[in-house]
């Protein structure tokens, strides 16, 4: 798993996939009253793990690091909800303990694609070409007319900005 944080793309992909299943199970148990939030929180946490992976130290257990991030994002969610929607908290008394397997993602309510569109071009275009269309850095640079380092910086900053957009969206 740690290989994923060492720059091995395939291992990293696998890590994120396994992680998403664990996060889904983790949040489903803890957010039984608001099942709608689970998939959003899974996505938000995956993005946070990605953006904060420079804070991981290989001497530290990976599970502790990820758990702390997941817990932080969940507490953050509760804090936002308690401030915004105290009177509007859906009380599902029939929380289904035997839901489908954890790998079955429900639809996220928030559309990250739409949030992506709000990023400036120099961040949005590299993400679009590289991440969604699978172009390489060099190809993306050619298509967009940006330099290769600008493409890399754009992707990096764009993903951070996306995380901030998610956070601020809740604040409204």
């Amino acid at each position: 798993m740690v290989n994923g944080l060492a720059g091995d793309a395939a291992a990293y992909h696998l890590l994120l996939q396994e992680l998403s299943a664990h996060l889904r199970a983790f949040f489903r148990v803890r957010l039984q009253r608001v099942p709608d939030e689970v998939e959003d929180l899974v996505q938000e946490t995956l993005l946070a793990v990605h953006n904060q992976r420079h804070t991981y130290d290989s001497a530290q257990p990976l599970t502790a690091w990820i758990h702390a991030i997941a817990h932080y994002k969940m507490v953050d969610l509760w804090r936002r909800r308690s401030r915004n929607e105290v009177l509007n908290d859906p009380l599902d008394d029939q929380a289904d303990l035997f839901t489908a397997a954890d790998t079955e993602a429900s639809d996220a309510r928030r559309d990250l694609g739409k949030l992506l569109n709000r990023l400036p071009d120099q961040q949005r275009l590299p993400i679009l070409h590289m991440k969604l269309e699978g172009l390489s850095v060099a190809e993306t640079a050619r298509v967009t007319g940006m330099s290769e380092s600008a493409v890399k910086v754009g992707v990096h900053r764009g993903l951070k900005a996306l995380s901030v957009l998610i956070r601020d969206e809740h604040e409204d």
Partner: protein, 213 residues
């Protein structure tokens, strides 16, 4: 966007991450904080003129050792609180020990002094300004440390802010010691501590807002 699409999107940016980036960042922040405190001291109060003679006195070194010991504890706490999933551990004893030692030494010094001479050891002549100057000199380190912390995803924000504040306060107190004319250990245990607790409290208050990610 489906979660699988998000994963595919993130996975294509599997850049290796140089581990332990925080070490360099903390080094830079502390360096900036110390230099900033020294410059502020030069501008505002300046080093006491008899510094060469004072260096021979134990009270001068006590005034450096006390914030120094607290800085060590606060640095450990700040580094641990800066990143997700690192246990805080037994930092509280590292922080309590210097304070207790100074209070004990202060009690001994007071007990050995004639009643008439005690108030000077407690209040000195600069008790009112000392905590404020300590807080002022801590400002560069405070800003630099919070900035570094913000890049490292702390999860316990009030504690993280407080630890950054205490570390900055200790830097400020050590710088102030180069000017401070007082010799009472009790003065150190009260007014230096009060000065260091100003940024500590401020950090605990603004941490939850400022350090969010």
């Amino acid at each position: 966007m489906k979660t699988d699409d998000l994963i595919a999107m993130l996975a294509s940016e599997a850049v290796p991450v140089g581990s332990r980036v925080w070490q360099r960042r903390y080094g830079l922040a502390l360096g900036a904080g110390v230099i900033g405190a020294a410059l502020l001291l030069m501008i505002t109060l300046n080093v006491r003129p008899d510094i060469a003679e004072v260096v021979m006195q134990p009270s001068f070194w006590a005034k450096l050792a006390f914030p120094g010991a607290l800085a060590a504890g606060a640095l450990v706490a700040a580094i641990r609180l800066s990143r997700p999933g690192v246990a805080l551990g037994s930092v509280s004893s590292m922080l309590a020990a210097p304070v207790l030692v100074v209070w004990l030494l202060a009690a001994i010094q007071l007990a050995r002094t004639e009643p008439g001479g005690r108030s000077v050891l407690i209040w000195g002549e600069t008790w009112a300004s000392c905590p404020l100057y300590v807080a002022l000199l801590s400002v560069p380190a405070f800003i630099a440390l919070l900035w570094v912390m913000k890049t490292l995803a702390p999860t316990r924000l009030a504690l993280a802010g407080a630890s950054a504040g205490l570390l900055a306060g200790a830097v400020g107190a050590a710088a102030y010691a180069l000017y401070c004319p007082e010799t009472g250990v009790a003065f150190l245990g009260i007014w230096y501590l009060a000065g260091m607790l100003i940024p500590t409290t401020l950090g605990a208050i603004i941490g939850p807002r400022l350090l969010r990610w």
